[in-house]
Amino acid sequence: MEFISQPWAWYVAGPVIAFVMFLLYYFGERFGLSSNLETFCSIAGAGKFVDYFKIDWKQNSWNLVFVAGGITGGFIASQWLSPTDMVALNPQTIQDLADIGIQNAGASYLPDEIFSIETMLSVKGFFILLIAGVMVGFGARWAGGCTSGHAIVGLSNLELPSLISVIGFFIGGLIMTWFILPLIF
C-alpha cells in the first residue's frame, strides 16, 4: 500500500502509460485524447454549421468511455490513493515561480493564481483559462494530435510528423514558460 500511496516515480508511470496504449490497440482502438474534442463538437451539433463535424460520432463512443474512466480514475486517486496533495518540486522551480508571482508552488497540484474559484470568476482569470483551452484544442487538431497521439504513439511509431509536432509543442511551451508567463501574473 505504501507503494501505491506515495507519488509514482517516472519509471513506474512511463511503463504504465505504455501499457495503457498497448491495451487500447489490443482492444482494437487507438490512443489519442484530443479527437474527443471534435466528438464533443459533433455531439453538440456543430455538424449543422460545419461539414467537418458531420461524422458518425457513435464510432468514437469507446473513447468517450475511456475519458469517463479517466475522470473516475482521477477521482479514485485523489479520494483514496493520495494521502497528500503536495508536489515535491525542484526548490529552484518554487523560487522561480515566486519571482513571477505564483506563491506556494508545490503545496498542492495546481496554483491558486490560475485555478481557484475566485480567479475563475474574475475577468482576467476566466480568459486565461479559456484562451489556454482554445490554444490546446485548436493546436492539437491542427497538428493532428496531442501528447498522447503524437508524443507517445507517433514517436513510438517513428513518425516524422509527430517528431515535428513534438518539437512544435516544445517551442510553444518554452515561449510560454520563459517569456509570456512572467508577464501575466
Partner: protein, 137 residues
Amino acid sequence: MKYIKFFLVGILFGIVMSKAEIISWFRIYEMFKFQSFHMYGIIGSAVMIGMVSMLLFRKKVVKTFEGQEIHIPPKKSGLYRNLLGGILFGLGWALAGACPGPMFVLLGKGVVSILVVIFGASLGAFLYGTFKDKLPH
C-alpha cells in the same frame, strides 16, 4: 458491455496521471524550465516501451483480442500543420498546465475551473474545423 474494458483502461490512465503528478500544472512548468527529469523520464520510458509494442504489432506477433492485425494509421504530414499546430498547442499546454488527457483527470479530482479549459479546448477544436480550409497545412 463491450465498452467496460475501455472504462477500466481509462481508470488506470486516470490513476497514473494523478499518482505521477502529470496532472500538476507545476510539473509542466518544471519540465519547460528543465528543472526536473520527471516528465522527460515518463515520456521517454513510455516511448521506449511503446516502440517495442509497435514492433510487435508490425511483426504481427501481437494481434487484437479478436485476432485482427493491428495497423497504426500514419500521421498526416505537412510542415505547417505539424509545426504551427504544435507551437499553438505548446503555448496552451504550458499555460493551462494540462493537455487533453489530464484535463479530464483534473475534473475527476474535483477542479471546477478546469471546465473552462475543457470548454475552451472544445471551442478551439470547433474553430479549427471552421477555419481549416484557410489555414496552411
